[in-house]
Symmetry: C2
DNA sequence: AGACCCGGATTGTTGAACAATCCGGGTCTG
DNA sequence: CAGACCCGGATTGTTCAACAATCCGGGTCT
């Protein structure tokens, strides 16, 4: 089921289980609100209930999972407030990194690669590839800050975004309409026109948030 | 030793242990690099080794603690790169929240309270109070973003800062020289002169980082 | 129909057990 | 004497079985 390692030799089992669960949640294999039953999971993954709980503790600390006392652990299911928080984070982090970060040669190459990925996904109409490219782009923007911590924060934020999508009825084509916007954004950044890029970025974030909230609530 | 709860009734033990350890580390009771031995701690806190390990998993996910396979868990001890990362985070987060956040009446009140705390600590010469007021100030700045997630990120970042101080030989009076700066910063924010405030903030962060790195070991 | 209750299932936590690994110290050798 | 080697105790990693506390679903009684 997992293409990576089968069994860790002797000293990572808890972390390994956490990684497996993280992947399953990211992939939508475990949808928001789904219960993670101890006995079932420990049997399937062939780990003890204690080790599994160790993984739960880590995932709960990352807010990927919610623990309800005496009820169990559930995949986090973001509500409207959570979505607003996600976009507030992005509205602060991304323009800050873009405006005040450093755009090294390496990062420019990454941006050019992302540009190619977006146009490729546009032509092939591959929604998953488009979603992937989109995340890669916004990760790259935050990476301009040069801070591993902020990159981690962004990764977790994007993971929460994936949770939102997986919780929706029709998870399709939410990124496609923004492909054009993203391309212009990349070009502005590569051209060194940071102020305009930040403006475009904010516009994109506002629109995406509005549409998501619209599509979800009332 | 902990003035709060003695024993949790029945359903939070792991989280409770994590909280106790978090407090001890923040207070400097457990210094960076210190080993958290399982048997000793489980006996002292009167929890099983398994429950203790659950707390370890949570703390490791928060990067408060470092796990070395087959060696044990140790209080994280930030190096120069970690310090640079902390300041890079702050250089992004704080000006962003300050410039683009919302300054509600509540937050203005909090700032006025902080101002009083700083002047009070200045007069009494209480270094601990000054350090507390300093953290409160920078927490309040990030709180302007309105994002609970970013506030949590800031809290963890400041926790890492405390680790740096606790790892130093002479942890005294590092905040005192910045009291004046902080007061001016608060006044600029309260006056609505955000651009100038952001500029002052950046100056403070640069100076503090430089001094810390200097003081440590170029 | 709705309140009540009960027994099975699940969670929370513990203690003991064992393999794997590390650590400190003693011994051997050159 | 220094360094390589080795060994036994201590520590970590992980599992298992057990138990109390709690929840849940379903049947019963009014």
């Amino acid at each position: 089921m997992n293409p990576v390692t089968d069994t860790a030799v002797h000293a990572h089992t808890g972390a390994w289980v956490a990684q497996v669960l993280r992947r399953r949640i990211s992939a939508g294999d475990l949808r928001p609100g789904a219960k993670l039953a101890e006995q079932a999971l420990s049997e399937e993954l062939e780990v003890s209930r204690n080790t599994l709980r160790e993984a739960f503790a880590a995932l709960a600390a990352e807010s990927i999972v919610q623990r309800v006392p005496n009820r169990g652990v559930f995949v986090a299911s973001p509500d409207a407030d959570a979505i607003r928080d996600v976009y507030q984070v992005r509205r602060m982090l991304e323009p800050a990194a873009l405006l005040w970060g450093e755009l090294t040669e390496e990062r420019q190459d990454e941006l050019r690669g992302i540009r190619a990925a977006i146009t490729g996904a546009l032509e092939s109409g591959d929604a998953d590839a488009m979603a992937g490219a989109n995340q890669r782009l916004h990760d790259a923007i935050v990476a301009m800050s040069g801070s591993p911590t902020l990159s981690t924060v962004m990764d977790r934020t994007l993971a929460r975004m994936r949770l939102v999508f997986h919780g929706m009825a029709n998870p399709s084509g939410f990124h496609a309409p923004y492909a054009e916007r993203n391309l212009r954004l990349v070009d502005l950044v590569l051209a060194g026109r940071r102020e305009e890029a930040a403006q475009a970025l904010r516009g994109y974030l506002d629109a995406a948030e509005r549409e998501l909230l619209e599509h979800l609530g009332h």
